[in-house]
């Protein structure tokens, strides 16, 4: 029987602009790119030359410190640019695609008959290692580690998030193979968190049913409830959509990075799923789908809580399969907003009448911060949306003070920035909590290694 976890704390923000389970046109991108900034914990070293012809699966970039971690071209074509910023920092490696994609041949493999090292090598060669992230630090996993367990959260709960049941439809075999491959990488178990009532069914792994509001699908929350990380332990996590890509590698023998990306948000005209390939431009996904009369929108690669702000010529986030378009809102000047009753404004706080309108009302929320930055004044705000056995306020304070002992004791090794996203949303003091956590994790990683 499956284990069941009930998440009580949390918050579902009912945003306008939900996508239905339909496929939309689009996704043909003029260029594809690897963007090092989307990966944490790596130092990029570009190995491809501008003008070089590559296939889908050819190496473009490696991690300087761990050269076995490779980043490959998602399509075949010509490397057209290596864009660099200040201090020659690599911003992106761009590939112009051919009409017909040619794949590097990695050979079909039967996972069941492979040893751990063979699985590891296959994933690394095909450039899929960066899909595997590790906790502590929430960075690309270190291949030398032996993870205690591997966790996959096979659903999404963030606002307007895609429906994994729809994504996996027709690719169940690849998903299963991907999980089988992951199971080879650990002596422990592979835990798969599944939304209660979901049609996803897998075998050979530990299935955990999860109920409750966001952040129920955050893998960090599930780890904390299933088997928390203690000091010295390492666990790996993989996004469910990326497990499918890994499975495809073994079943078909090619690095096929195609994926479904859901287009959502109040400022879109068409909502649904676009079939594309990782590293495509944002424009190829959203062109013709944003309300024509509204120029002032914010496009987010990912969801509204933990996504990245992007422009149309930027590239899809490496781990993202969602685009959200919301109003920017900076032309709005809310007169005496602190004093007026505030009908139609979403707030968890009962000082706004949002509680009157019930849970089914959909809100359009723009990107304004809606207040000034303050010191932490209110207490118990974060706890209400933070369903882990961790004291968020005290952990954050330890991170700000960079008190390593305190951070370790209070659970820094268990968290990722996304776990603090809801705290940041409800925060009266408008503090950039995810940024604090990310910087803290990076600094701690440097300190420890």
């Amino acid at each position: 029987m499956a284990n069941v976890i009930k998440i009580k704390k949390g918050l579902d923000i009912n945003l306008k602009g939900k996508a239905s389970d339909v496929l939309l046109n689009g996704g043909k991108s003029e260029s594809y790119a690897i963007v090092p900034d989307y990966y944490n914990g790596i130092v990029p070293k570009v190995v491809a030359k501008v003008g070089e012809k590559v296939k889908a699966g050819s190496v473009l970039m490696i991690d300087k410190n761990r050269p076995e971690i490779k980043f490959v071209s998602p399509v075949s074509g010509e490397v057209t640019a290596v864009n660099r910023g200040e201090k020659r920092k690599v911003l992106s490696v761009v590939v112009k695609p051919e009409a017909q994609i040619e794949y590097e041949d990695f050979g079909k493999k039967n996972v069941a008959s492979l040893k751990r090292e063979a699985v590891k090598e296959a994933i690394q060669l095909a450039g899929m290692w960066p899909f595997i992230k590790q906790r502590p630090y929430d960075i690309v996993a270190s291949p030398a580690d032996k993870p205690r367990d591997i966790f996959v959260s096979a659903f999404y709960s963030a606002p307007l998030a895609p429906n994994f049941d729809f994504i996996v439809k027709g690719q169940e075999a690849d998903f299963q193979t991907g999980l089988d491959a992951l199971a080879k990488l650990t002596d422990g178990k592979v835990y798969v968190g599944i939304r209660k009532g979901s049609s996803v069914s897998v075998k050979g792994v530990e299935v955990v049913e999860v109920e409750g509001p966001h952040p129920a699908a955050n893998v960090g929350v599930q780890i904390n409830h299933i088997k928390p990380i203690n000091k010295g332990e390492v666990v790996w996590t993989v996004n469910p959509a990326d497990v499918i890509v890994i499975g495809r590698l073994f079943n078909k023998g090619v690095a096929d990075f195609s994926r479904l990306v859901v287009i959502t948000g109040s400022e879109t005209t068409e909502r649904g799923y676009v079939k594309t390939i990782a590293g495509c431009t944002i424009g190829s996904l959203v062109d013709g789908k944003i309300m024509a009369n509204n120029e002032n929108v914010r496009i987010i690669s990912g969801n509204v809580l933990s996504g990245t702000k992007v422009m149309k010529d930027d590239y899809l986030g490496a781990y993202d399969n969602q685009i959200t378009v919301i109003p920017e809102g900076d032309e709005t000047h809310d007169f005496l907003g602190w004093a007026t009753p505030g009908f139609g404004k979403f707030s968890v706080s009962h000082s706004f009448p949002a509680w009157l309108t019930g849970k089914n009302k959909e809100y359009v929320i723009d990107a304004r911060i809606k207040g000034g930055k303050r010191a932490m004044i209110m207490s118990n705000e974060y706890d209400r949306v933070f369903p882990m056995d961790i004291m968020p306020e005290y952990l954050l304070k330890a991170i700000i003070a960079f008190d390593i002992d305190k951070m370790e004791n209070l659970g820094i090794y268990e968290v990722a920035p996304e776990d603090f996203a809801l705290c940041e949303f409800v925060d009266t003091s408008k503090i950039e909590l995810q940024k604090i956590v990310r910087q803290g994790l990076d600094l701690l990683y440097k300190e420890m290694n």
């Binding site: 007169f335 602190w338 809606k370 209110m378 207490s379 706890d383 659970g411 940041e424 949303f425 995810q434």
Partner: protein
């Protein structure tokens, strides 16, 4: 609104770095954000934010304080009328109180906000709204006859030494309004206690002049209890300014002498409902203060060697500043315990300590102020142990 917005946009460049009025930048920003919610959008992290901000929070607290403040104003007039034996009707009674209280509010705001504005400007920070609440609390917890200059001095002391030196709103250890009152209490004891200060017998701006009636005494019930000693056990009866007995019901409704905002438990409870419903104050802190007070008074009732010890728990909770402190002061999120378990402990100790001071120290008829200030000091310690408990529980996981 459009015109106002355009005007602000037009004059804004003057206040920016290098503009001719740059020295008033914080003040301008303060007024701009007062008029319009800032339109800055998020740069990193979450892309959407809850509408709540600290201005809204403070506004709700002020709203919650209004019933007690308005009732306090009326009561100032009411007590004065009793003292001079006049009955000018509801409106004039309220106006008398209003005129007596208003200058205190103005002085407290002008002094406190003036310092806050100046400090914000020097530190090149945004003006913070924390003092909006402290500034209205201060006039509510002083006797009506406190001279304005004393309020000014005490407010300045509290804002500078209890708040700004610690870093401003959110960093203070002590409740700013209570530090103001403690400063007054220890620096000018004659003006803060006794039976001369809680009822205004003179006129206010020429209004309500009259001769004090025979048999008048301005002592508060707690003052009477403190001086009753042990002879009157069993026969003690709190009386109003004319010597008529006060029932528990009178204490609840609040037409008795006392500091301006503290007398009516009913009006305070309306505020409590607002604070608890909006979740701005913690019900854990609030109820534990009352529980702590009740338990402690029951214990003293059992000993019962003085009048102060034999006051019933209900009377203790209704009298003086107990309810006001429990609802508005102990729940200050910055200076109280911040952990959930800590709030129970903190609240309970505030309530218990207040009654201990009342019962055992005849020099301090009211113990609430000192109890809360004392527990402000211990709040971080309580939190420390609650956090340690969490750490230990997490460490035990490894051993299992």
């Amino acid at each position: 609104m459009k015109a106002l917005r355009n005007y602000l946009d037009k004059i804004k460049p003057n206040f920016e770095e290098g503009g001719k009025l740059a020295m008033f930048r914080s003040v301008f920003e303060g007024f701009e954000t007062f008029l319009f919610v800032p339109n800055t959008t998020s740069k990193s992290g979450v892309h959407i934010h809850d509408y709540i901000d600290s201005k809204r929070t403070m506004t709700v607290v002020i709203l919650a304080l209004l019933p007690a403040l308005l009732f306090g104003m009326y009561n100032v007039g009411y007590q004065h009328n009793l003292a001079v034996g006049a009955d000018p009707g509801f409106c004039m009674t309220f106006i008398f109180g209003f005129l007596a209280v208003l200058p205190k509010i103005i002085v407290s705001y002008v002094v406190g906000l003036g310092i806050e504005f100046a400090v914000a400007q020097v530190k090149k920070e945004e003006i913070q709204e924390g003092f909006l609440v402290s500034g209205i609390l201060i006039p509510m917890i002083v006797p009506v006859d406190t001279p304005l200059w004393m309020i000014a001095v005490a407010t300045a002391f509290a804002v500078v030494f209890a708040k700004e030196v610690f870093g401003g709103t959110g960093y203070n250890v002590f409740n700013v309004a209570l530090v103001t009152r403690a400063f007054l209490f220890f620096a000018y004891p004659a003006a803060m206690s006794g039976d001369q200060v809680f009822v205004r017998t003179a006129d206010t701006f020429g209004l309500g002049a009259g001769q004090v009636v025979d048999g008048f005494s301005g002592a508060t019930p707690l003052g009477q209890i403190a001086i009753a000693g042990k002879e009157l056990i069993g026969s003690f009866q709190a009386v109003d300014v004319l010597g008529n007995p006060i029932s528990t019901c009178d204490m609840f409704l609040g037409l008795i002498p006392g500091s301006i905002g503290e007398t009516s438990v009913l009006a305070i409870l309306i505020g409590a409902v607002i604070l608890l419903f909006t979740r701005i104050a913690s019900w854990k802190t609030m109820t534990s203060v009352f529980v702590g007070g009740a338990v402690m008074s029951l214990i003293f009732n059992m000993i019962g060697t003085t009048v102060a010890m034999s006051v019933s728990p209900l009377d203790h909770l209704f009298l003086g500043g107990f309810a006001f402190g429990a609802v508005f002061m102990a729940t200050d999120p910055v200076t109280s315990a911040r952990t959930e378990t800590g709030k129970y402990i903190y609240g309970f100790l505030v309530g218990a300590m207040a009654i201990i001071i009342r019962a055992l120290n005849p020099g301090y008829p009211e113990g609430m102020m000192l109890a809360i200030l004392l527990m402000n000091v211990f709040a971080p310690l309580i939190d420390y142990y609650v956090v340690e408990a969490n750490i230990n529980r997490r460490l035990k996981r490894v051993i299992k």
